[in-house]
């Protein structure tokens, strides 16, 4: 049987008196896309930050390929950091606007891979091609790119050091639906091509269902359930999972279409904001 790439056991994170994550336990298998869904403040991004060793857990354990990483000294983290990368929500502000695409993608190549000159340039072009951008983009600055193109550059930068594991934290939430569709297609194609493992964090369950084979539903710092893609519709699904389904624009549209009037029906079950 295959070993999990990541195992999370009883993870807790307190910020002062606030418990942001309260006893999260799950594992991520190599090559899968694992979904973390919930509303703002549910603790999704805090879990993502702890997996990337950017935050230290208050309690609990994180293992990467069987090795505990949550208590490592900073310099011992370096080799592990090479294996995991992050793609952030806002593609424009996550790129340095004073650097060209060449400098943005080239930096991790110089730092981690020791590449320079023609070898570095060739790898930059290869990475751009991987994310569907032409080689001519190396000279461009972020402000000369669309939001979707910025997100592609951001993905190319994350892939530069050939990580195994990518954390996609609301990576498609800030772009419009057409861009979103293309970025999702790109992520799926890259996963197949490079054998990547993804943690996909989003507040939109319809998108999470499309992308992920297994889904953890979070609310108030707790993981309410971890289920296979198709189980989210079952009668045994948690009431909050059903509320997330009901709140999705796809469901709002379907309900409106089912009614004679084009107006909204009450969205049951989505209490407290």
């Amino acid at each position: 049987m295959t070993e999990p790439l990541i195992e999370v056991d009883g993870l807790v994170k307190d910020f002062g008196s606030v418990r942001a994550v309260d006893g999260a336990t799950f594992s991520i298998m190599p090559g899968e896309t694992f979904g973390l869904v919930g509303e703002s403040g549910s603790g999704k991004s805090t879990i993502a930050a702890m997996l990337l060793c950017l935050e230290r857990p208050t309690a609990g354990e994180i293992r990467f390929r069987g090795t505990r990483i949550d208590n490592l000294a900073p310099r011992k983290l370096l080799p592990i950091r090479r294996d995991m990368q992050l793609v952030m929500q806002d593609p424009v502000s996550s790129l340095n606007r004073r650097k060209t695409v060449r400098q943005i993608i080239g930096l991790p190549l110089s730092l981690h891979e020791g590449l320079s000159g023609a070898a570095r340039e060739a790898r930059i072009v290869e990475l751009l091609d991987l994310v569907g951008l032409p080689a001519s983009f190396v000279e461009r600055y972020p402000h000369e790119l669309s939001g979707g193109q910025c997100q592609r550059v951001s993905i190319a930068r994350s892939l530069a050091i050939s990580p195994e594991f990518l954390v996609l934290d609301e990576s498609v939430s800030a772009v419009d639906v057409l861009m979103q569709a293309q970025i999702l297609n790109l992520l799926n194609a890259l996963q197949k091509e490079l054998g990547l493992t993804y943690l996909f964090v989003s507040h939109d369950l319809a998108v999470v269902r499309y992308m992920c084979t297994r889904i953890a539903v979070m609310q108030g710092g707790k993981i309410l359930e971890v289920s296979d893609r198709e189980q989210i519709f079952s009668d045994q699904a948690h009431p909050y999972t059903r509320a997330l389904i009901a709140a999705s624009p796809a469901s709002l549209a379907a309900r409106a279409a089912a009614e004679a009037t084009p107006h909204l029906s009450p969205t049951g079950g989505t209490d407290a904001s």
Partner: protein, 287 residues
């Protein structure tokens, strides 16, 4: 319906850059909105949908120039109108809600003070009466404990609650036309659903007409009776919501529909597959 009963009548609107006669951003847009009608203005970033709604409010950026055409709100011309005339129309005839409630609210004034200011800018009422109205409005948009929260500052509210405050401000002078520019895009889906429900109730009760600007055609379809699809400064398709959703005529509309993840989308197939023109339309290398 004659043009004069329309709450909004836009005809052949052309807008471009003041500095460059070559650059035209809206290429002759026409649109009529009846009382109580809700139109979803749908398109990707840069399609001109926000520019159109800002122009209706007379709030287009200074670098932008209305070259020809007309925008009439309740029969009054907006294009070329003086600021004093626009001030009469804003608030009572039309009001706008923006995407980002945090940057649209003044961070150093209480929300009550800001609503009172909006009310008193458009009506002659005492400060005390305006404050009572502000409290009532906060209550009607679902802000809890409005007698206390009226004195709170924007940062003391969650994103969803701040958007409710913005909505309270927009409806404070009972406008006939509400322009909602991506009012829920910055919110997560659960909060979005609640804000949509609130808008639905308010619009219904008050008989407002709405232009709902969004890139999400599914969301627009849940709220609007008509969908206008914009692309590169033109309305490329318009029709009753059910017809546009079921039987889109323009390939761009099909691409917008195919880009949405629903709970029926086949996870084993790429999005937008089967939309022949999707690649060309979106201008992106979709792998």
């Amino acid at each position: 319906m004659t043009v004069d009963d329309a709450v909004l009548n836009i005809s052949d609107l052309r807008i471009g850059l003041r500095a460059d006669a070559e650059v035209e951003l809206l290429h002759g847009v026409s649109m009529t909105l009846a009382r109580g009608e809700r139109v979803g203005l749908v398109g990707e970033s840069g399609s001109g949908k926000s520019l159109l709604s800002l122009s209706v409010m007379g709030l287009q950026p200074p670098a932008i120039d209305v070259r020809s055409g007309s925008i009439r709100v309740n029969g009054s011309e907006v294009v070329g109108a003086r600021d004093s005339r626009l001030d009469e129309l804003r608030g009572r005839s039309m009001a706008m809600i923006y995407q980002d409630p945090m940057s649209s609210l003044n961070p150093v004034r209480s929300v009550g003070a800001q609503i009172v200011e909006a009310i008193r800018a458009h009506a002659t009422v005492s400060r005390a009466a305006a404050r009572r109205t502000a409290i009532d409005l906060l209550g009607s948009v679902g802000v809890r404990d409005p007698h206390r929260t009226v004195d709170n500052y924007p940062h003391e509210f969650s994103g969803g609650m701040r958007q409710r405050v913005m909505i309270a401000m927009a409806i404070s002078c009972e406008p006939d036309l509400l322009l909602a520019d991506e009012p829920t895009t910055a919110l997560d889906v659960t909060t979005q659903a609640k804000i949509m429900e609130l808008l639905d109730d308010l619009v219904e009760q008050r008989g407002m007409s709405v232009i709902f600007v969004t890139h999400d055609i599914a969301l627009a379809s849940s709220f609007c009776s008509r969908i206008d699809v914009m692309r590169r400064g033109e309305v490329v398709e318009t029709g009753p919501t059910a017809e546009v959703m079921r039987n889109p005529q323009h390939p761009y509309t099909s691409a917008l529909l195919a880009s949405i993840c629903t709970f029926e989308t086949d996870p084993t197939r790429p999005l937008l597959s089967g939309v022949a023109a999707a690649d060309a339309l979106t201008g992106g290398a979709s792998r």
